[in-house]
Symmetry: C3
Subunit: 407 residues, 3 copies
Amino acid sequence: MEFNVEMKYVLDTMWLLVTGMLVMWMAAGFAMLESGLTQAKNTVTILTKNITVYAFACIMYWVIGYNLMYGEGNAVFGLGLGMSGITNSDHSVLSDFFFQVVFVATAASIVSGAVAERMKYWSFVVFTLVLTALIYPIQGHWTWGGTALGGLLSGFTDFAGSTIVHSVGGWAALAGVLLLGARKGKYPEGGGVRPIPGSNLPLATLGTFVLWLGWFGFNGGSQLALGSKGDVDAVALVIVNTNMAASAGAVAAVIMTQLLYRRIDLSMVLNGALSGLVAITAGPNYSSVGVAGLIGAIGGVLVVFAVPMFDKLKIDDPVGALSVHLMNGIWGTLAVGIFNPEVSFFTLLVGVVVIGVFVFATSFVTWFVIKKAMGLRVSEQEELEGLDRHEFGMEAYPEFRPGFEVG
Amino acid sequence: MEFNVEMKYVLDTMWLLVTGMLVMWMAAGFAMLESGLTQAKNTVTILTKNITVYAFACIMYWVIGYNLMYGEGNAVFGLGLGMSGITNSDHSVLSDFFFQVVFVATAASIVSGAVAERMKYWSFVVFTLVLTALIYPIQGHWTWGGTALGGLLSGFTDFAGSTIVHSVGGWAALAGVLLLGARKGKYPEGGGVRPIPGSNLPLATLGTFVLWLGWFGFNGGSQLALGSKGDVDAVALVIVNTNMAASAGAVAAVIMTQLLYRRIDLSMVLNGALSGLVAITAGPNYSSVGVAGLIGAIGGVLVVFAVPMFDKLKIDDPVGALSVHLMNGIWGTLAVGIFNPEVSFFTLLVGVVVIGVFVFATSFVTWFVIKKAMGLRVSEQEELEGLDRHEFGMEAYPEFRPGFEVG
Amino acid sequence: MEFNVEMKYVLDTMWLLVTGMLVMWMAAGFAMLESGLTQAKNTVTILTKNITVYAFACIMYWVIGYNLMYGEGNAVFGLGLGMSGITNSDHSVLSDFFFQVVFVATAASIVSGAVAERMKYWSFVVFTLVLTALIYPIQGHWTWGGTALGGLLSGFTDFAGSTIVHSVGGWAALAGVLLLGARKGKYPEGGGVRPIPGSNLPLATLGTFVLWLGWFGFNGGSQLALGSKGDVDAVALVIVNTNMAASAGAVAAVIMTQLLYRRIDLSMVLNGALSGLVAITAGPNYSSVGVAGLIGAIGGVLVVFAVPMFDKLKIDDPVGALSVHLMNGIWGTLAVGIFNPEVSFFTLLVGVVVIGVFVFATSFVTWFVIKKAMGLRVSEQEELEGLDRHEFGMEAYPEFRPGFEVG
């Protein structure tokens, strides 16, 4: 290998490894965000879900998902196991696997927040296995895998996955939430919505910072290369735009909640920042810094309206995952069609719909089968007393609350 | 571009991006540190301040601050908006912007700790806008911007910003604290000082570790280059010295508090580590590892005396930001004049004074105008019951304390 | 220096710095893990121990340890102080020091968890000084220092330190625990084991994620090079294997606790992930991804049996450090002898035994002298009321629990 080719190989591979680590770190962010925004009595459950969903996703994607997504095969799915038959001369295949596997874990993490506080742990795990082994990789095969589903999706573009990762997690979550139902008491019979405040906002804020940092890897690594002036300049633009969209999302949300409610809502500010991040993910590589800020700000406004909208529809999403990842995954993808003259809005819309229908339908069927086979929801008493006490027999903060007897 | 020139461009740009991410991460560190060292009833406020101050700073510095600091113009300030007219052939301009914007956010974050627990959120935000758009960039234009204020500051050197970032944050905070006054009950009428313990020391410790890690980027990235033997050797020295100064600061503080109080004070140990970090920031690139340790250790000793000194002056700084960032920002800058024979102590002193006077005076005027226009301080009742309940209508830990009715 | 040689030097040095930062970050992980898994009344103590153990370790290893390990000398130990006489033409010596110093801090951090909740702070510090200045570097001189103890250890291999770092920390901790005794009430007179639940499981989970992330640096940096296709490919394999072993360890533990206890134990899941990480550390560079998963899964199973086994022996280890670092440090080292046909199982066994005997014996003597000279254990009343109240005079969460009067 010539020296200049080798240097590019080294730098590109290194970049996938470093940015992959940052995306892995997002798993910690989801764990902190979700356990901060839910009740203390369910905290052990949500922590366990978050760390094991990452672990299960890594295993399933290695066993079959990666090959289903990037392996040879047909227009609908790849074939084979592990890394068999997958080659790459631009960078190490293992570094590519590492960068991709942390993305599938991200998609799975999105689901856990939306179904929190009433779903059985093992039912969630089974869904995760299907999502990460089959559903996510198949739609990924059409897009990042390059087959365009035999042409139906040709022209569809999604730089780092507003649709392919975030809305996929969102659609899968929506299907689950519809079959699962709302938490007891969230929508009282007399009407209205009972707020169920998060138990630990410093944790939720920490989680948001972790996700923000991790997103530099999520988007910055999606250039899949670093070792040339063109690549590193592109990465710099991606990172600045990512930071600007998040900033604008947070600022939009803080201003909106002040204007609408006369009080600031921190959880909305956190979701505003995350919405900006989701929204810019489809196209941080083409837009100017100002446009990135605009896309992020619209994301921050959207989330402020989406959260009460889902509540009006009695779709109970404890952490706002649908408002952040589904709504803004769609918005971010379509924004590319608005601001990038080289991409067709219609083509993007087709992609959003095709992938949305596929993921929602297959997820719904999967959840439905799990519901029939093993049930989705814990008993009413377990929900009331907290999942931690029943499925786990331990408490997250045993000294800060009235204790209970294990056993 | 020749290959060896391109490689250096790629590596230098990559290094600014990676270290810039680490500095962004410091925003999380400040959020955790400050919310850990203050009372639970004000935690939502301080979390919101920390995440939005970062967001506002990024936006304001992009709109005008960056050009005011690095743009063409005169000896006092640059001109223009965004990145217009700013070029760089050594690395991507966007990577440079990213590395610089996270520094201005750091300066602004320092302020939030000192004014915590009694300042109105929006008054703080307005000050942040002025600090990050005008005050910080103008003094930065004289130093890192290269004009030396028409010669007055020629010879002044500050590697990563003991003065330019940390003492700037400290002076801005001091002006605010003087106009704001102490928290109710901190200095009882009968004399003495009432300790108001931090509510969550694991968070404060986490924040310190985050800052320590982020500082490797803060100082290590300030070499602004990586892609040659000379550069990477310099970066290695900077990082080892940074680590040694922090270690020595922590050790000095733990020994001092044991000797002085016969008990160890964890919050002082945390501030000792941070003091070592601030102190080494002006010159981690020239000193030997042993001297770096000495500078850090003196920083750790200084903070143990500075905290009660500010209390004696009835300058109420809930998290010790003045003792850490102002005192040690000055100490660290002057230490270069003591230990580096190539730099004049007097020149450094002039720089410390000129920048100090400018930042304190402009900050004081800004705070004063805000005080007249919209007030700085929440009502006595709001302070007593907690800012979270009034400005935010939410609690940080709603399940761990007696609840309250929102509305 | 020729350009291609210089590029390799730059990349290798940069990689040691970046991965060294990740290993430093593990200190934060230990602090969060250990304070999350112990009682709130001892949290300030354990936080202080974790941040200062890192600081003391960095100072002692710089003063003497680094030279004792890598300096010229004889087969048993090196000589000299600081970096005197140590040279390296492949990468910056300072970057090498940085990468090594964070490893010794890791070994010392392992000890703090096992002796938590009943040891005097300063006794622990004195042991740390001896461990990091003498015990760790001497055994490191035999292995990574290259002398093979005059041939006795020739052929012994340990890629990133399952034995050299993790079991060393474990043996040092075991010696301390034996001399220190169990926490009051842990093993009631009537028999059985009283569970003492951790006070803050979100912190413990965060700590695990931090350690997981940091481990990519721990193992990925141990290639000690990056700047060639061969090196970067090796690093990619190391990182993928590290991630897979951790995932398999977590999954094994979650399944095992469900099967054995009919309930999931989150703290066991966390220790399962960590066990997978410790186990793969000796050989992430040779095994296939599947074998890495197997090694990690066995680690996750081992820990589920090791924790009750230590309890049966009345060896009280509040955070499971012995089960994770000692048991799996041994397992991971021996696993290389099982799965790597080029390495002799017997040679590995000799290394495990020789290093184990040396570290246990010297640690035992050190602890014994400290016990005679200044005592190891706090008074019964201090243990009952919490170490924080006596040695520190402050509480970790003062607002969430009945307060106490300082003084």
